[in-house]
């Protein structure tokens, strides 16, 4: 049997030291909530398993997901993960160009049939035969379907790939369409947010490339480990919400005291994301901490849920709590997409681990 190439081989070739590698494994295990045994598991997998190639493609988008990704808190995490994915294809940072780059896609497709991860930033516009996003002379939607055919699974980065995002806002001039409405026969993991938090992105990539399968997902296809709680649940301003202390104007006395931003239009109570725990830009802050409410950028349809500067009216201050799945199911029912959502969920289940790794 020919020697297989592991991630560890690749990382070593990139000049990452053993010590750094071990550190990386423990950091990742911690960020995924896998506990002390997790680090050894990750190390073992990276040292012994054949590496999982990642192809990173850009459709109709603003590159904010890539921007977020390359600023992961721990430089080491970024370096290692970057060397994992950049080996193959990413048109923002890679070295190859033009036909050479297209050849890499073809080669990966053949050599790693059914084994590679397709990470998609942005989405395909379907109006005018896909004319609004032409990549290498062809509509992006064709390239997307072509690469998806032989992929093991697809990562839908950000609000664009997951839900459509601002370019799908009314009247959606280009008919920008989320990935799961175009690709029906592959497991898709949605990592929503505009953009998603860097640490969430690296966590997801590392989990999948390490274990060769998707982490546990909720009914909307999002990884539970990062999207099972509302911003509101872990918001450091929550006591002020409960106490009825609210900011009424930007930078008023209540604002200086860090009171709740609900009356300024904050959508934290209806938004599932990890901003209030993981935070942004190296764990420094998140929108609410900067004195502005959450606009719910990881929620489906957030772009058409304005005005953004008026108060939410449908929140029960001390009402019954709902979890992401319940709200997701209700949403699916309302838009009449229950069948499609369900089909996608079933496909995903096939490669989702039965053993709950991160709670072990």
């Amino acid at each position: 049997m020919a020697a297989i190439e592991t991630f560890y081989d690749v990382i070593r070739r990139q000049g990452v030291t053993r010590r750094s590698f071990t550190k990386f494994c423990s950091l990742t295990a911690a960020s995924l909530g896998m506990g002390p045994i997790g680090a050894a598991k990750i190390a073992n997998a990276l040292e012994t398993k054949e590496r999982t190639p990642v192809i990173w493609m850009h459709g109709l988008e603003c590159t904010c997901c890539s921007e977020s990704f390359i600023r992961s808190a721990h430089p080491l995490v970024k370096d290692v993960v970057l060397s994992m994915i950049s080996l193959d294809y990413d048109d923002t940072i890679m070295a190859a160009a033009g036909h050479q780059a297209e050849a890499i896609l073809q080669e990966t497709k053949e050599k790693y049939k059914g084994k590679y991860i397709l990470a998609v930033e942005g989405n395909p516009p379907l109006n005018e035969g896909g004319m609004f996003c032409i990549d290498g002379g062809k509509p992006f939607v064709e390239k997307l379907k072509w690469m998806a055919d032989d992929a093991m699974a697809i990562i839908a980065w950000g609000a664009c790939a997951s839900w459509g995002c601002v370019q799908a806002a009314k009247p959606n001039p280009t008919q920008a369409t989320p990935i799961d409405k175009v690709i029906h026969d592959k497991p898709i993991i949605k990592v929503p947010g505009c953009p998603p938090i860097a640490e969430v992105m690296t966590g997801v990539v590392t989990y999948i490339t390490t274990f060769g399968r998707l982490p546990e997902l909720d009914r909307q296809g999002r990884p539970n480990m990062f999207y099972s709680q509302r911003i509101h649940d872990k918001c450091y301003r929550r006591p002020h919400f409960d106490a009825g202390q609210f900011v009424e104007q930007w930078d008023d006395e209540s604002a200086r005291k860090g009171h709740c931003l609900y009356k300024m239009g904050c959508k934290g109570p209806t938004t599932y994301n990890a901003c209030s725990t993981v935070r942004w830009n190296g764990g420094v802050s998140f929108p609410i901490q900067s004195g502005h409410g959450c606009i719910g950028c990881s929620e489906e349809g957030f772009w058409d849920k304005g005005p953004f500067y008026e108060r939410l009216t449908n929140i029960h201050q001390f009402g019954v709590e709902k979890n992401a799945d319940e709200i997701g199911l209700a949403a699916a029912g309302v838009v009449g997409a229950a069948v499609a959502t369900h089909a996608a969920a079933t496909a995903v289940k096939r490669i989702v681990s039965k053993n709950n790794d991160h709670s072990a």
Partner: protein, 483 residues
Amino acid sequence: MTRLLVGPFNRVEGDLEVSLDIEDDAVASARVTTPLYRGFEQILIGRPAADALAIAPRICGICSVSQSLAAATALRALYGVAPARNGIIAANLAHAAENMADHLTHFYIFFMPDFARAQYAGRSWHDATTRRFKAIEGAAANEALQARRRLLEIMGILAGKWPHSLAFQPGGTTCAVDLGQKAQLVAIARDFRRFLESAVFAAPLEAPLGLKTPQELERFCEGRGADGDFAAFCRIARALDLENLGRAANPLMSYGAYRDETGAFLNAGVFDPVASALSPLDARAIREDVSHAYMRDGPEEPSLARTEPFVDKPNAYSFAKAPRFHGRPTEVGALARLAVHGHPLVRALLERSRGSNVFVRVVARLIELAMVAEAAESWAKALALNEPFCVVAPHDGDGEGVGLVEAARGSLGHWLGAQKGKIRAYQIIAPTTWNFSPRDASGVAGPVEQALVGAPLEGHGASAASVQHVIRSFDPCMVCTAH
């Protein structure tokens, strides 16, 4: 004559395609295509005016603060509100962080790796350049990414999150900085300065900031700053004669950068590099020509213009419109800002070349980096913690508001019209729309299309490095271009 198609481009924000007509192994004429369109100007119509603050920044994940500030400035004009002084300083500081991050990314991740290409193997500088700058593997990229990440913690402090920050409002910024945060801002600005002084210039910032003539620049690169990446670039530029590559002689325009109540840190204006003449900026002279864009005809004034795609339009080849100033294609960016501001070194390099070129574009970007890094520290110190960061602004107002700012890549304008508090019209002209403009009705090519003419291919066809150098010297941001 043969025709070559270059693209898809790597290391470019968004998609770009360039079609080249080749004669005698050199570019005879070029057409630049922006193949990506989302329709922000259509999407914004009918929404509450203030919602532009949440929607418009999402045009671009690279320069989202610039987009936010253009929208906030347009709303300011519409509401007739004067923002809090602290809010202006905080916004300038965040804007500086984003712009400096962009310049750094451009130099280390997008531009320099092309000199590590196999095409240059055998040149005396190739091995060292490859070790330092090769895409993914080079040592410099990692150092730069770390410095950049640290720099952007400014964004965390002032804006909560980046890209797509929400803190920038017509009345100022929503984040009232406290003493601890102010200390952190100063420390981050100093760390960034240290990175510039160790890796980029290999000398205290005063040295590059004091360069006034091409001769001084040359001496700096051979002497005091010889170990820096800036000097490495200058030496390569001399070896490859980048001063004679990517030449263009269009007017250079700046809307004025980092304004406060006393004026702009870098002045507004238009500089003609051929006549060496400076004139004031008259934004009313801006028009958008759609003769070669996949757009329906309509009024050319930005405040009246519509954006309606028409993909079967004959003769069209780009989703980008063709902006013109007094009817002429106009170059924007760091070079234009420093030329307008009167930077002696930049003016001298422009005069020597009778226009812009690859070399002076990159030099201007790095000199501006040093200037803004120095200023950023003083801005952080100027925050007066007991004074307001945001004043109360009305949330309705009818009429028009124009927001003109300078993004890293050049002049960015938002033209907003509102009726009964709702957006009636919205028109955006981004920096890369100016530089990567298609031809206009008189057949005059855009700045990059002009700059590509004459680029030698040296038998490498579509993969010739010269073409990459010219295009990247403008630092394209294609997602902004047609939006």
